[in-house]
């Protein structure tokens, strides 16, 4: 979310901006190749430089990895970064690049192993701790190492919004809502105001934590901020706003829930869950036929069997209430056939 894979056209200025360090003199020829987009020759030059002085400069490994990635050699890029890390285990800049590269090249289980090995060589690396903690959180949140890794990363990098978010997320997953809300608030404080995707995600989780803490007003405010971010996204992801809809329904604010749901349908017209929710609003208002039409859209856009199942289940009830028993039986048949 915060750190994307850097597959970029080369320029020294960009590298400096991305990694925060300037090029050394020995890389000047490679730099010239990279500036021209001639990554093949850049690789040759960088390889030569490494053969000559493997312990000279971590930047060489980074440039090599970037060049290889631009040549679509992901495995080579990963290998270059790993060679760099083994030479310069304390280089947080190399580590940062490495942890963004690993998940793009190997599967999550292998990524976890590789980052774990890197961390074993550099046990103090906050970047690696965050990365391993993130991988564990995604794959096996119950792993006893996760809390320590994420707590340590969040403490060591108090201005790293993602580290704070991940620790907050771990806390929420373990019913530690107060800690969760506190870490997420810190994360929000250092999240750039134009990082709308992050604002949606963090505010959404913060809302859940506040709701669990019994502070419905704070939850409402956090959800509202999330929706505000959602409305600014070029590629809007509707999950958090949809959670807001459910939250509002549970609060009894059906009017506002409908407004938010309709906004979701405008921005994500293929989002099945919002169509089903809309159908439920209509059904609750006794507009059975309209509810059925709306839920047919939900069925059309259902992404998987679970989503489709929820719609079929609803349609059994809706058709039944509308007095259309034979149609209800069709959907009942689907549910029966898909237990």
């Amino acid at each position: 979310m915060w750190i994307g894979l850097q597959r970029i056209s080369w320029s020294a200025a960009i590298l400096t901006a991305l990694t925060g360090f300037a090029l050394g003199a020995q890389t000047s020829s490679a730099e010239a190749y990279m500036e021209r987009g001639d990554y093949r020759h850049a690789v040759e030059a960088l390889d030569a430089q490494i053969r000559k002085d493997p312990a000279g400069d971590p930047e060489v490994y980074l440039m090599l990895a970037i060049s290889l990635l631009n040549l679509d050699d992901k495995n080579g890029a990963l290998e270059a970064a790993e060679r760099g890390i083994s030479q310069f285990p304390k280089s947080e800049r190399l580590s940062s690049y490495y942890v963004s590269l690993v998940p793009a090249v190997v599967d999550s289980e292998e990524a976890e192993k590789r980052v774990g090995r890197a961390l074993a060589r550099n046990a103090d690396s906050a970047v690696l701790k965050k990365s391993l903690g993130k991988a564990l959180l995604a794959r096996k949140a119950e792993d006893a190492r996760t809390e320590g890794l994420l707590a340590s990363a969040a403490t060591a990098m108090p201005r790293d919004a993602e580290a704070l978010y991940l620790y907050g997320k771990w806390a929420c997953l373990h019913q530690k809502e107060t800690l969760c809300a506190s870490e997420l608030a810190k994360s929000l404080a250092v999240t750039p105001p134009d990082n709308y995707a992050a604002l949606v995600l963090v505010n959404g989780l913060l809302a859940v934590a506040q709701d669990r803490l019994g502070d419905a007003n704070a939850a409402d405010a956090a959800f509202a901020h999330a929706v505000s971010g959602y409305e600014k996204l070029d590629s809007p992801v509707p999950d958090v706003p949809y959670q807001y809809v459910k939250f509002l329904v549970n609060r009894g604010d059906v009017k506002k829930a409908r407004q938010v749901n309709e906004e979701i349908l405008k921005r994500n017209p293929s989002f099945a869950a919002a169509h089903l929710e809309q159908a439920k609003f209509l059904f609750h208002e006794r507009h059975e036929r309209a509810a059925i039409e709306e839920s047919q859209l939900a069925l059309k856009f259902a992404g998987d069997a679970a989503e489709a199942r929820a719609v079929h289940i609803f349609l059994v009830k809706a058709y039944g209430a509308a007095g259309l028993a034979s149609e209800a039986r069709v959907h009942q048949g689907w549910v029966d056939a898909n237990p």
């Binding site: 119950e142 669990r212 009830k317 039944g320 209430a321 549910v335």
Partner: protein, 553 residues
Amino acid sequence: MTPAAVTILALMAAGYLYWQSAVPVKSGEITFRDVAPRSGFEYRSKNGYTGRKYFPQPMCGGVALLDFDGDGKIDMFLTNGAKFPENRKTDASYDNRLLRNRGDGTFEDVTEKAGLSGRELGFSFGAAAADYDNDGYPDLFIANLGRNALYHNNGNGTFTDVTAGSGLNTKAADVISIGGAWLDFDNDGLLDLVVSDYVHWTPGIDRECMLKGVSGYCSPTMYEGSVARLYRNLGHGSFEDVTEKAGFGKHPAKGMGIGIADVNDDGLMDVFIANDTMRNLLFINRGDGTFTEAALAWGAAFNEDGVSVSGMGCDVKDFDNDGRPDIVYNDLMTQLFGLLRNSGRGYFESASGPMGVDRLSRNLSGWSMGFIDYDNDGWKDIYSSNGDIDYEGANSKQHDTMWRNAGGRKFEDVTAGLGESFSHMGYQRGAAFGDLDNNGAMDIVVTSLNEKPRFLMNSGNGNHWLLLELRGVRSNRDAIGAKVTVTLPSGRRLFNHVTASTGFLSSSDKRVHFGLEAEGMVKFVDIRWPSGTVQRLANVKADSIVKVTEPAK
């Protein structure tokens, strides 16, 4: 003749009389106090765990509340487990127990005299009390692994096992029966029985499952499910298994709690069964001896997301005072309990979110449960006995919860204020409601795995109340299925019906309870008896236990 005397005579002529005018309960905040330690009984629920985890062990400790000796005081029957792999009650520590209410806050163990130890049975689960032969004494059905049991109450403090020849023993020997519920589905005046059967299991096919690296109890998904069974009472102690004929047999089940109510107001009792890891079942009574399973069409089969949960206890009563019975069921942590509001249009609408049940139940694993107006304000609250399946981490031991119904708008958690006894941490299982001291405040009997049970006496809060003990004449004598509407002087109307089936493994006081809040008089009590007879009582005094006999036509 004085007006009061006229009234009394009129009331008696109408077929009811005040049985007891109890001492008003004290005013103030309600607490529940455990009085079980005052009584010298030996029972503690014992699931037979000795290091090897057998599948049924988490489900031990059923409760039935009944007045077995007809002295007007509610007694209790507690079921118990068995030793595995033998599936036998190998010594007295596994005995089921009958505890007689002495009326002074203590209970006397009369199991041996009553002949109810169940030593000949295997692991016992639920108990259901009712007068199936209309002789005036409540009998007992016990659901077991192995054969089920029907005990006839002889009316002299003893019971006789009459299972053999009763027709009730038609299930396969390897089926776990969880509980039973009495109802008169054909309104012929004889109580029929529905039994929730769970899975096919014997110690010989028990599987060992590892959870987080340690031995744990397997999920019911590992075992083949069964079906709910329906037995029609033919009279003279004889039952016919009508499971297939009635349409129950076509619907797979892993049945747990059973709720009995007339959900579509057609005068016929319907059956809701909460299933574990399978869709719930709602059998709508067609009135011709058959039922239509319609949980899906009624919106009661799955949760709001279309997913099956580990349904445990359930209750079907009217929580929002609109005259229509609603459904509540509980399940395991993170699944969220279900509260379904009866729309009156042939389906239920999920009320779990709007009523706060989602949020309140998130971290609970519930077992027995039900609607109970614990504070006599006329709104039925929700009680749940909680505790995880086994020790699986920090939140495994849990306490009971009481969610107060705030005027039908929201449920709010009032557990913390109900006292230390109520908040006991453990693995709570069976629980039943009843007025053990006849003071109009509903008490709760709860079992906890491998612990002594708690008899939680409700202190009351000074609100008015009414308890109705109905006696059927044309209808079944227990009047199970009778619908009662109470109209208060303010015009407020309250609804309930006669059923003992609540929660999980358990059977409650069958008397119909109403909290009246500040109103000290009931303008009308309207009773629709299962026979179809309609009866109205006028100007009924509050704070009374009133016996009402069905008018003979």
